[in-house]
C-alpha cells in the first residue's frame, strides 16, 4: 500500500470528520443564513425561545432514535404524549400531593404502554410498524373515551407545576434543562453502557446478537420503555404549558420526531444512529421553523418546508455513502 504523506492524511481525517458531523455544519449554515438576513434571530431571547420550543419534540425524538437504533419504529409516541398530557391535567395539580401525582401517573401509564409495545415486539418479533400503529389506535381511542372527546383544563395549578414548562433557572427555561438532561443521559447510555452496545448489536443483526447471547427481547423492551418515557415527559411539559388541552394534541409528533431523527443521519434499518446528531436534527427543525416565523410565513408553509427538508435529507443521506460510525 502506498504510504500517504501527513498532509493528505490530515485532510482525509478532516473530511471524515465533516462526513460524520455534517448535521452540525447544516445547523451552523442555517443559523448563519438567518443571522445575516434577520436582525432578530441572533438575540439571546430568540435563541432561548427556539430551545424552549424544540424541547418537547426533542425529548420525543431522543427516545425515538434509541428505538430506531434497535432497528424498530415507534409510531405510538404521539399518542403516548397525548395520554400523558391528558392524564397529567386530569390529575388536577392544585396542591403538592396532586402535583406529584400529575407527574408520576402519566409517566407510569406512558411507560406501561411502552412496555406493552416492547413485549409484543420483543417476544413475538412482530413487525414494529404494525404493532405501534395498532397501539396508537388503542391509546388514542382510550384517551378520547376517557375525556369524552372534550377539552380538559386545570385552573390554579401549583407554581411547581407551572415551573415545569414556564420556569427559569439562571435565565434558561426549565424544559431546556430537561431536554439537555435527557439527551445527555441517552447519549451516555448509548455510548458508555452495555445497554447501548446491546441495542446497537440488535439493530445491526438481531439474529447474530441473539446467537452471541444478547437477551434481545429484554433490550427491545427497555428501548421501548425509554421511548415511551421520553414521550410522557414531553406530554407533561406540554400539559404544564397549555393547561387547556385538546385530546388530539399529540397528533403528528411521531412524524416530527422521525424527521429530526432522519435529519440526524440515523439509519432506518437500525444499528447506527447517534443521540447527539438527533439533538442537532431537532435544533435544525427548530431554527428553520423560527426563521419562517421571523419572516412571517404562514404556518401551513412551515409544514411544506418541513416535508421538503425531510425528503431532501433522506435523499442526500441515501445517495451519499455515509462513513462508518
Amino acid at each position: 500500500m502506498r504510504r500517504r504523506d501527513p498532509v493528505s492524511r490530515q485532510v482525509s481525517r478532516v473530511s471524515a470528520l465533516v462526513g460524520r458531523e455534517w448535521v452540525w455544519l447544516v445547523l451552523v449554515a442555517v443559523m448563519v443564513l438567518l443571522a445575516t438576513t434577520s436582525s432578530n434571530f441572533l438575540t439571546t431571547g430568540n435563541l432561548l425561545n427556539v430551545l424552549r420550543q424544540v424541547s418537547i419534540v426533542g425529548i420525543v425524538a431522543i427516545g425515538v432514535v434509541v428505538v430506531l437504533i434497535s432497528s424498530n419504529f415507534d409510531l405510538s409516541v404521539g399518542s403516548i404524549l397525548t395520554l400523558a398530557a391528558v392524564v397529567s391535567v386530569q390529575m388536577q395539580p392544585v396542591d403538592p400531593p396532586r402535583t406529584l401525582l400529575a407527574i408520576l401517573a402519566p409517566l407510569a401509564l406512558g411507560c406501561t404502554v411502552g412496555a406493552a409495545n416492547g413485549l409484543i415486539i420483543g417476544l413475538l418479533r412482530a413487525n414494529s410498524i404494525i404493532v405501534t400503529v395498532g397501539m396508537q389506535f388503542v391509546v388514542t381511542g382510550c384517551v378520547l373515551l376517557y375525556v369524552a372527546g372534550q377539552h380538559v383544563r386545570v385552573d390554579n395549578a401549583t407554581p411547581f407545576y407551572f415551573a415545569v414548562s414556564g420556569g427559569y433557572l439562571f435565565g434558561i427555561p426549565v424544559p431546556v434543562y430537561l431536554f439537555l438532561l435527557v439527551t445527555t443521559l441517552c447519549h451516555l447510555l448509548m455510548t458508555r453502557t452495555l445497554f447501548g452496545r446491546y441495542v446497537r448489536a440488535i439493530g445491526g443483526n438481531a439474529e447474530a446478537a441473539r446467537l452471541v447471547g444478547v437477551p434481545v427481547a429484554r433490550y427491545v423492551l427497555y428501548a421501548y420503555i425509554i421511548s415511551a418515557a421520553g414521550a410522557s415527559v414531553s406530554g407533561i411539559i406540554l400539559a404544564s404549558r397549555v393547561r387547556n388541552l385538546d385530546p388530539t394534541v399529540g397528533i403528528g409528533y411521531e412524524f416530527s420526531a422521525l424527521t429530526a431523527v432522519v435529519l440526524g443521519g440515523a439509519r432506518l434499518s437500525g444499528g447506527r444512529g447517534n443521540v447527539l446528531h438527533t439533538f442537532a436534527g431537532v435544533l435544525i427543525l427548530g431554527v428553520v421553523a423560527n426563521g419562517m416565523r421571523l419572516f412571517n410565513l404562514p404556518f401551513n408553509m412551515q409544514l411544506l418546508v418541513q416535508g421538503i427538508i425531510l425528503v431532501v435529507a433522506v435523499a442526500l443521506g441515501a445517495s451519499a455513502k455515509v462513513d462508518e460510525r
Binding site: 400503529v133 432506518l268 433522506v314 435523499a315
Partner: protein, 338 residues
Amino acid sequence: MNSRFTTLLRRRTLWFLIVLLVWVSVLGQGFWSVANLQNLVVAVSVEGVMVMGMTIVMIGGGFDLSIGSVVALSGVIVVKALPLGKPVAVVLALVAASAVGLANGTLITRLRVNPFIATLGTMVVVRGLVMTYTNAQPVPGTDPAFMSLGRATIFGGFPLPGLIFVAAFVLSHMLLTYLKIGREVYALGGNEESARSSGIATDRLKMLSYAICGFTAGISGIVLAARLNTGSPIIGENTALNVITAVLLGGASLSGGVGSAFGSLGGLLCIGLLGNGLNLFDVPAYYQRIAQGFLLLLLVVLERLANRSPQVSTRTVADGRPASGEQPSAGAAGGLSS
C-alpha cells in the same frame, strides 16, 4: 401447535369476516335496512378503491403513507377546476394524484429512499401544498351536478361509488392474477434481486405501482369531494393507516410478495363491518378506533404464533394467496430494511 390450527389461522381473514357478519347481521338492529346497506357500501367503497391500489404496492414490497394527503389534493383540485368542466376537472385531479405517485416512485427507485420515509415526506409536502393553496379553508363546490358522482344510485339503490369500487376490484384482481405484470409484482415483492436478474424492469414496475396507488387515491378524493360537495384540505388524516390495516388484514405482509385483491377485499369488509356494527350498537366512535387497534395487534400476534409452528409451507408466487402467515424473520421485529 398442530397443522390444522395453522390452516385455520391461515384463513383468519375469512374467519374474522364470518364472525363479524353473523354478529352484525343477527344482533344489529336494522343491519338489513336499505339505508344502512347503502351506508356500508359507500363507506367501504371510498377506502376500498385505495385498498386495491395499496394492495399492488404492498405485494411489490412497498408502502405508501401519502394517500391521505393525495385524497385531499385531488378533492381540492377537482372542486377548484369545476368551472373548466367536469371531465377536465376530473382528469386534472387524477393527473395530479398520479404525479404524486410517480414522485414517490422516483424517490424510491432513483434515490433509493426507504419507502416508509419517502412517502412520509411526500405526505407532509402534499398536505402542506394543499393547506397553503387553500389557506386551510374548505373549498365549496359550485356545480350541483358534480355531487351526483358521489351520491347517485343505480340499479334501483346501489350507490355509484360502490360501482367504482367494484370496477377497481375487478381490474386489480385481473392485473394481479392474469396479467404478466401482476406476476412480476409478486416476483418483485418476493425477492427484488432475483426479479431483477430474471429480466424484470423492477424500477419501472415500482414506479408504475406507486402511480397506480396515487391514481386510486385520486379517484377516492374525487368521490369524497363529490359526496361532500366540498374540497376539504384536512380530509384523509387517518386514511393511509386505515387502508394499510385493511391490506394487512387481507393477508399481505410489510415485506412484500404475498397478498391478493380477494384477501384485501376481505380485510376491507372486516373493518367496514366492524365499524358498521359498532354504529348499529350505538357504541361511541372512540371504541371503533380502539377495536381497530386491537384488531391490528391481534393480527400480528396470530401471524407470529402461526409462524412459530414447525409446519412451514412454501409460498407460491403463482396463485398469489397468502401461504402460511409468513413474515421473513428479518430483524428482531422485522423492521424495514432500507
